[in-house]
Symmetry: C2
Subunit: 456 residues, 2 copies
């Protein structure tokens, strides 16, 4: 019994000592990031000097160059570009969605969905019919859908605390295919957001090669409410839809990578990243300029603290998350080809709102190992490391058995500006952005210092 107690005490003491040293290092990171951080100024540059930057666009190339410079300034040992062939979709002229009823008309606030085909040059004129969901669409059947524009008016469910986006976004992704199967000529969805306002929200839609591709747009939630009310009163409502968005040939682009090479185990790689591309409206400030600038800040803060990491740390600006994920796939494919050993990857792609929890995905033993560090994060407002974490761009690393983590700000505000014109620099709070960078720096440092148990 006494020996057992002694044993326990030793573990406790060692562990306390370790945590105490680490808490001092993290406190140093915190002081530095909150007082001398560069993430906010870098984000301002990305938003205001580069602007929105859809894959393949000249702005995306400008963002590649700017973030490579920022990584060099942050003190990365090596900065390099990893080639990625990306799709290039262009919106073209301002879209038009006009409702005609009686002898009146009203222009809606609309945006073409990303990757949508355009309308014929003269636009489409058709009756618009509302459905709340796919069940209602199917109940109508081809008879009532053929030749019409289908208006999917499915709201983000208020009672879903975090899952509302995943629940509602299926209409953006699959609405056009499902409507086209029944002969619809166009689709308009209610924007996927909790906010009731005039901002339309874009985002990628998908086609099926076996189904006719029909044009698809999103209207603002206020317009969706208005149109829904109108459709209850008016017998027949027509819509004029015009968009000349189109797919251009693929373009050579890049993931941007900045590295701090490990001093003891350089072959064990830790990735911290966000995606550099954005939709072609607003400034891509929260989605995902924030995640990129936070990842660069991780390099800067570790370097500024004079720490030479034991394992290799890579900040990666992934290209093409929004409409292809080619950057994330290219990064994992390269890792497989080079037989790299990726032990841990964390992504910030839920907005620059700080961090409430760090989601983690590994074996039970690996997750338990990470969770021992939770007390080090509490002073900075990070309370838990729940199971289930990652990000779209680092997802392909799962094939390599990498432990994945995702930043969860837990905020209710992200979808108010996600893929919308109001996702601009001014919507980002400096300290929230910095505290997110701090949490990412702390977990990156801890894994670089102590490694992770191997998968068994």
């Amino acid at each position: 019994m006494k020996l057992f107690l002694f044993f326990l005490t030793s573990i406790f003491t060692l562990s306390s000592f370790g945590q105490n040293k680490d808490s001092l290092v993290i406190s140093k990171f915190s002081y530095d990031i909150l007082n001398n951080g560069k993430a906010y100024d870098n984000l301002r540059y990305l938003c205001k000097e580069v602007g929105h930057r859809i894959s393949g666009s000249p702005q995306a190339q400008k963002a590649v160059e700017a973030s490579a410079r920022m990584l060099r300034e942050a003190g990365a040992d090596t900065v390099y570009l990893q080639p990625v062939i990306v799709p290039y979709w262009v919106r073209g002229d301002k879209e038009q969605g006009t409702i005609h009823f009686g002898n009146q008309k009203r222009d809606l606030n609309v945006l073409a969905l990303g990757m949508s085909v355009g309308t014929p040059a003269s636009g489409i004129n058709a009756e618009v019919i509302e459905v709340k969901n796919f069940d209602e669409l199917k109940a109508l059947g081809a008879d009532k859908v053929k030749g019409k524009i289908v208006f999917f008016n499915y709201p983000m469910r208020p009672e879903l605390i975090q899952g509302g986006y995943g629940d509602a976004v299926t209409y953006r992704g699959s609405g056009p295919v499902e409507a086209a199967k029944l002969g619809a000529v166009g689709v308009m969805i209610r924007s996927v957001t909790h906010a009731l306002d005039d901002n339309p929200h874009t985002g990628a839609t998908r086609y099926d090669s076996a189904v006719t591709k029909i044009p698809a747009m999103a209207c603002s939630t206020k317009d969706a409410e208005w149109l829904s009310a109108l459709l209850k009163k008016e017998k027949q409502v027509k819509m004029f839809m015009k968009m000349n968005c189109k797919h251009m040939p693929d373009v050579l682009s890049y993931n941007v990578i900045g590295e701090l090479r490990g001093t003891e185990k350089p072959g064990e790689i830790i990735t911290v990243g966000g995606h550099l591309d954005s939709w072609d409206i607003g400034e891509g400030a929260h989605d995902d300029g924030s995640g990129c600038m936070q990842s660069i800040e991780v390099i800067r803060a570790i370097k500024a603290a004079g720490i030479k990491p034991k394992r290799t740390i890579r900040a990666v600006m992934f290209m093409n998350e929004e409409n292809g994920l080619r950057g994330g796939n290219a990064y994992a494919d390269s890792a497989i080809a080079k037989k790299e050993h990726h032990i841990f990857a964390i992504e910030s792609d839920a907005g620059g709102f700080g961090v409430q929890t760090l989601g983690i995905s590994g074996t039970p033993e690996q997750e338990q190992y990470l969770r021992q560090w939770t007390p080090l994060f509490r002073p900075y407002g990070v309370y838990e490391m729940p199971g289930g974490g990652g990000g779209a761009d680092i997802g392909p690393l799962r094939k390599l058995g990498t432990v994945l983590s995702g930043v969860n700000p837990g905020t209710q505000r992200y979808f108010d500006l996600h893929h919308a014109p109001n996702d601009v620099f001014e919507a980002v709070n400096k300290r929230e952005l910095e505290l997110g960078a701090l949490a990412m720096t702390a977990i990156t440092y801890l894994v670089s210092e102590y490694g992770l148990p191997e998968k068994k």
Copy 2:
């Protein structure tokens, strides 16, 4: 062994059953508040139809009437007004703070500090000198301070994650007394905010009856930076300060109270509250319209769920938190006089940003009892119940041994708009406001259902 396991299993089952039932009730609250909540619309009314509402003002009286109506509409059994005599301080004409240097001048963005005396009608003209803190002020001594305007340029320290306000606000509270002791004729402080912008932030200052009362104002942080840079270049910088704020005679005002009477133990009282008064600028949206509207929502949600609480629940809109705390004191004094038994009180006065933790202050046994419920809150983004919680208005209940709790949103944004012109309805996110109301409803319900261990 088997018996022991059986015993453990029974406890587990009973406890799971209890928590399961409670989690269903809380889920029902959540659905209702997020889908049918009234807090946001009520807040719009308070901000847009009533506006800012300093104690003693006609708007404060309008807020009393409006919130009494809202409590009736929420379904309170009884709604009544508790008289409170409050101070009435009026700002008067727009303040003037003008810097003269060389043959140039510049008007600063300033606000008189709350409760400040005015300047003489012709204003004050004096040299302005900068100090970073009280130590620098004392080092200068009476020789260099006499006849001057002291500019306290103490920034909120970025590295303090939550404590920056408490650290910096001492210059707002005590700056005028400390400067006057050395013969200063006026004070200007740097606004207490992390934000670097043009908004001046007011807030109460204090005088000492033994020290000359000198006028005090706050300038925006951008102006503070500008003036500080100027003072490094220019030999002599003069300032013209003019404000005609003044104290009016005390006014009869009210705490507004809405009650759901307990069905089993009506003598055990639970208070949920915020403060109804605000500073006389902006709209007092986060400070503290949010806390009041959330408290009314607690009544509405419990009533709407068809729950008849076992213990008495009171939503209290406290009057005069900002410049006197007379409402909080009157409420506790009345409780003592009537020998009421107040078992629990929770206040929301840190902005309508949702809740990350609920701070709690009681005996270790009471705190442990409350903490058993933490898992019920996690699905709604409330992660912990750390020790140390309460609020200014419910603080006086400590004399009665009441367990106190405070809503901690943990956000970094509160002080960007606290006591400033930008604390307006538009700065409040509907869902964050509602999730705060939900956490308050859940804890109020649990305490009303199960009570709390008595203090030993």
